[in-house]
Amino acid sequence: MKLTVDGTSYEADVPADMPLLWVLRDELGITGPKYGCGIAQCGACTVHVNGLAVRSCQLPVGSLNGDVTTIQGLGSPEAMHAVQEAWVEHQVAQCGYCQSGQIMQAASLLTLNSDPDDEQINTVMSGNLCRCGTYPRIRAAVKTAALKLNRA
């Protein structure tokens, strides 16, 4: 099976019903997306398909219909995406395990809505669990990221 992740093409010898998350992590060695629940409850596995957020633990790799971007393709330590920059500015992460998913979700939100209000941020970001309780800074960082993107 062929797939494109973060701009690179891969060939993976896996069954069509294998969740994308595990193809990324265990077959391709791309570990930015995390396993948290496996049942669409936590959002730690969030990646983009064609630029929009999906829960990769729920997506059978056989039904993938576009290019995949993971947190590692969104930006890099040397060249961060605006959302990642905002996250660093606000020092959001504690354990950080949920943050790949939080950042991918936020980036997707800002693609669809460049200036979300509190209500919209609440609605879209509430599918992503953070056990460390970084929510107050996530809220602030989404707003900062929106400003950065709108300025750009």
């Binding site: 595990w22 930015g32 997306p33 948290g36 629940c37 049942i39 930006g75 943050q99 599918g127 669990l129």
Partner: protein, 757 residues
Amino acid sequence: MGVLKTAGTITRRTFLIGSAAIAGGVAFGTYLAKKPIDNPLLDDLEEGEAGITPFVKIGPNGITLITPRADKGQGAYSMQANLIAEELDIDPATATITPGMPGPAYYNGAVMSEGVPFPAYDESKLAETARNFMAVPAKLLQIQMTGGSSTVPDLFDRLRSAGAVARETLKEAAARQYGIPRAELRTEDGQVILPDGTTINYTALAAAAAAIEPVTDVTLRDPSAWTRLGKRDLPRTDMVAKCTGTEVYGIDVQIDDMVYASVCANPGIGGDVLGYDEAAALSMRGVQQVVPVKHGVGVIASNTWYAFEAIKALNCQWGPGPYPKNSAAIWEALDAAVDNEDHYDHRQRNEGDIEGALADAQTEGGVLEASYRVPYLAHAPMEPMNAIVRINDDSVEIWTGTQIPLFVRDKAAQISGVDRSRVLVYAQPMGGSFGHKLEMTHVEQAVELALAVKGTPVKMTWSREEDMTHDYPRPAGVARARGTVDNGQVTGFDLSVGQSAMAPSWFGRLTGMTVPGPDATITTGSWDQPFAIPHYRVTGYRAPDMVPVSSWRSVGASGNGFFHDTWLDELIHAAGADPLEERIRLCSHDTSRKVLEAVGALADWSGPSVGDGRGRGVAFCLSFGVPTAQIIDVTHTGDGIRVDKAFIVADVGTVLDPTNIEAQLFGGLIYGLSHAINSELTYENYAPQQTNYHAYEGLRLYQTPDVTVKVLENGHRIRGIGEPGLPPAAPALGNAIFAATGQRIREMPFYKHIDFI
């Protein structure tokens, strides 16, 4: 080893139950305690490298800082690196930061210091001596553990000293090389600077520094000279990696040629395996082997998902667990223990004449009474338990996130039969813990699996379901309270707490040792509060051992903080006093009183009721030496309770990383609110009924209040902050709901009694 062993027996007891530390300690004399521990870095240096102290290694290619305390998200690596860097004069971003290999040099001298029989607000000479003395057994016992909010108190001086020793030794090396007195040299940004402005990189001095005796008579800089510590803009060293998906957690580690595995064990923890369908699992894709493990069975496969799928196909049959079958039976046992003399465990607070006060009030018809409950709770960090183990003929290697690397090492040695000197534990950053990674059942299982495929690394990952149902939870507890009020004041406070003992359950699993004596965790967080109530008694009753239990963020204070402060709030209400004013009046500890006053000012307190279905609650708990007060505002909307705002004030003595402290405090609050509102483990047929986040949800963004945090520095000791934010959250919320609705909730989780948005 004879000496150490004896010392161990005495002090393990001291550590767990807080009996006389001084009596136990004197027996060792001071020789062993003062004797320096060998620097482990010296065993393992490359050509031209210097391991100047156990915490700093400098080679021609760079500087490595050893940060032995585990990072589970609280920022410990970053804090430790900055403590060294402050004196070493380097930017930690330019260094390699690693926990290094576990070893005796990295003992935790502070984790035991609150195990003394003095409440944290007791600043007397005797109490302080006892606390300082607890570092001695910790060193002798080689306790390298992360927990008890102890990282900063323990390492504050040690790591700065390590940085200073390394700096002065590098200067000395330069001094000899250039024939200039050391006193005339300066350091900056990883360089020694000669009087004429010539700069020499530390890395270029490594070989020379390695050849001389370290300079150890160093003076630590005054905080006014700090350039990193205490600064608002001090970034966490791991922040960029965590925001770019490049941080490598235990679950992300990849070793060449590794295979993947998962296990399922009896969720009636300790129960037998009656049977499973091995053939079904073996016939599935990617499955290589089915391996029995203690109380369960594992599957080795070519990726984690195959292993998860095959585990489901095993269709395991379990025998009964070694404890009551369901929650109803567990509550019955807990209820039967409280106020039952046969279950009496300890009473560390007994002031005035509470029996007399209650009797007097009885005749006047005025005894106030209530009872409370808190449930078993899973830790449920986002990263499920995992470990990679590779076993060769004479070595074991383990890659895992852990708070207890030396216990892991010893247990792996025991299971594999390999000498512990050949067991290497590579500690990894953790995707949360909250105390979960003070356990190691998952590593034991991974060792069993690795023994079945010697030479091949096995990466074992628990599914979320396995993790939720094999969490050693926070103990469930019950409390009965009685009290009296008179003339607008709280005059009598009597609290009886019933719970299974936590410390022996946990320590028994780690070491196989039994722990005699009382278990202080039953009343930690209620017996030790800084209030002067005329008649004041707190008693711990020990329920039978039931579900095996463990430390959970803030340990005893997680339940006791709720019992104590809610009951205080009820009495204050009965007295007709203002909740904040009366707490301040009763408070007997200056630092704590200032915290209460500050939270009132921060929130602009003007009483609990703020009109139209809105209410405010204040709560206070002194835990891990940190007095913490919170005020929470709620609104009773048509759709349920909405938590609007939270104000937090805490006193940590000295602030090192203000931005991170603030995060830890509101993180503790949110973790506390999560469980207060909607999380519990209930048991049926010996197993928890909550198997994943859908049934154990915690707070989500839309339910999170706006938070305001203020940190004070009046305390006389530096304190850690990973846990104290939690205990006041549940009572502050409950007190606010009472103010808004008149409904008093005495059982967690609250959603069983009132709706939330």
